[in-house]
């Protein structure tokens, strides 16, 4: 993978950005997410998180536990506020 390779398409983050952040001391996947915003775009990390995990493992030599990966948040796929608001109240 070339350093200019895009790791996170939603937030336009390259491999180099990730490696630099790890070098600066952000060696926790959640911390990387918070400084780079990886996984915070419309894809919710489906594209980037696995790649960032691999980069982190390669760079630190430590296994990243699956349990430390960011939690999936609803609505999982983007839904418009109009659609969500159109639900009738039960009462």
């Amino acid at each position: 993978m070339k350093k200019k390779a895009i790791v996170c398409r939603c937030e336009d983050i390259t491999e180099e950005d990730v490696l630099n952040a790890i070098e600066e001391g952000y060696t926790d996947i959640e911390e990387l997410r918070k400084v780079l915003r990886i996984g915070m775009g419309p894809c919710q990390g489906r594209v980037c998180i696995q790649l960032v995990m691999k980069l982190l493992e390669k760079k630190t030599g430590k296994k990243v536990s699956k349990a430390s990966l960011p939690t999936s948040r609803p609505p999982i796929v983007p839904v418009s506020l109009g659609t969500l608001a159109s639900d009738k109240d039960e009462k």
Binding site: E31, K34, V35, Q44, L81
Partner: protein, 382 residues
């Protein structure tokens, strides 16, 4: 790991990290213990807002002084915290709200804050997408120097600066016990090595209650789960944070273009449950599209849960516990920890370094609950 320190701070949120910075800068040997990663609790889940428009003088004073620090913080810490001062627009819906607002504004102005009461027709000058009729607004208050900053960047910037001044920060390290010697702090036991110290700061957010119980101190704090959502990124449309104490809603457009906002749900309960609810999605989207109908075309990307560490008067608990020397509280922020952290940690640092107390620290000591007449902060959202 270090085996001793002058001060051990429990909690790596914005309060813990900014206090570590203030202490380390003053030459104090300080350690921060964080059970997960930095900003993993309320700091990382918060709405990012910085507001000076409060109903109690203490909160307003702390917030005004915090904003002065926030304004210079990127330069001071050497990292950008993305501060944006677009103001807070507080919607007023009825006569009762107007009376409270007039009272608040008078007090806030006495502290030197620039804040105005707006007519309904002035609301769209500040935030064009709002529907004045839909919100049932009879007015609003606006303070142009309120705003928001990035809580992650602020926490990391404080932590990095603290480390440069010699502070040690241990993440993924839990406190399992605190030892006393003749009612004086003597040691903190962790799931790794123990640390000898005479001063412990309890900045553990909603887990502060559990930390205090380790040495038999009872805090009145209750964890309240709060939900918050974020939309996709949009072009810049408005700069102010819009809030309503009556509807409980708050929302703003962040630096990157996304709209972040929250609202309480009717069936809200206290506790540590963190699963987001469908009720929130529905309630939030209904209210938000009533306030700003154009947003019905905008996608919600995700929503999550954070905690308010709520005290009986919605004000923080600060300072040393009477009878336990060296046990200092920095918790109970009731949803406002991020915005108050710069000044609160400066006051606590002055107390720890120089033994210098202040009227604000005294008035926010745990002892205030012994007195039956507490003054409640009423300007709360979310």
């Amino acid at each position: 790991m270090k085996s001793k320190a002058d001060v051990v701070i429990i909690g790596g949120g914005v309060s813990g990290c900014s206090l570590a910075y203030n202490l380390a800068r003053a030459g104090i040997d300080v350690v921060v213990l964080e059970k997960k990663y930095l900003s993993s609790g309320a700091t990382g889940a918060c709405g990012a807002g910085i507001r000076q428009q409060w109903s109690t003088k203490e909160n307003a004073t702390l917030a005004i002084k915090s904003v002065k620090i926030f304004e210079k913080l990127s330069k001071e810490l050497g990292e950008d915290i993305d501060l944006r001062q677009g103001g807070y627009l507080i919607i007023i819906h009825d006569d009762k709200g107007m009376k409270q607002s007039e009272k608040n504004v008078e007090m806030q102005r006495s502290l030197g804050l620039k804040v105005d009461i707006l007519e309904p027709k002035q609301i769209n000058d500040i935030v064009p997408i709002l529907n004045v009729k839909g919100m049932q607004a009879i007015g609003a208050t606006f303070c142009p120097t309120d705003g928001h900053a990035n809580p992650f960047k602020t926490t990391f910037a404080y932590a990095n600066a603290a480390k440069r001044h010699g502070a040690k920060i241990y993440t993924h390290t839990s406190v399992v016990d605190i030892k006393l010697n003749r009612n004086k702090i003597s040691e903190v036991k962790t799931d790794k090595e123990p640390i000898k110290t005479n001063t412990v700061v309890n900045a553990a957010g909603v887990w502060s209650k559990e930390i205090a119980e380790m040495i038999g101190v009872k805090l009145p704090n209750i964890p309240f789960r709060k939900e918050i959502m974020v939309t996709e990124r949009l072009k810049p449309m408005f700069e102010a944070m819009v809030i309503s104490f009556k509807d409980g809603i708050y929302f703003s457009q962040q630096m990157e273009g996304q709209i972040i906002g929250g609202i309480p749900i009717p069936e809200e309960r206290s506790g540590y449950k963190i699963i987001p609810t469908f009720s929130f999605m529905k309630h939030m989207s209904k209210t938000l599209t009533r306030y700003a109908p154009v947003l019905k075309h905008v996608n919600m990307l995700r929503h999550w849960t954070g905690f308010y560490d709520v005290t009986p008067d919605a004000r923080p608990i600060l300072g040393e516990i009477n009878g336990v020397k060296g046990f200092i509280q920095c918790n109970g922020f009731s949803g406002h920890g991020f915005m108050l952290s710069p000044m609160v940690t400066k006051l606590l640092s002055d107390f720890i370094v120089e033994g210098k107390s202040s009227d604000i620290l005294e008035s926010l000591n745990l002892d205030r609950y012994k007195d039956k007449k507490i003054v409640k902060e009423v300007s709360v959202v979310g």
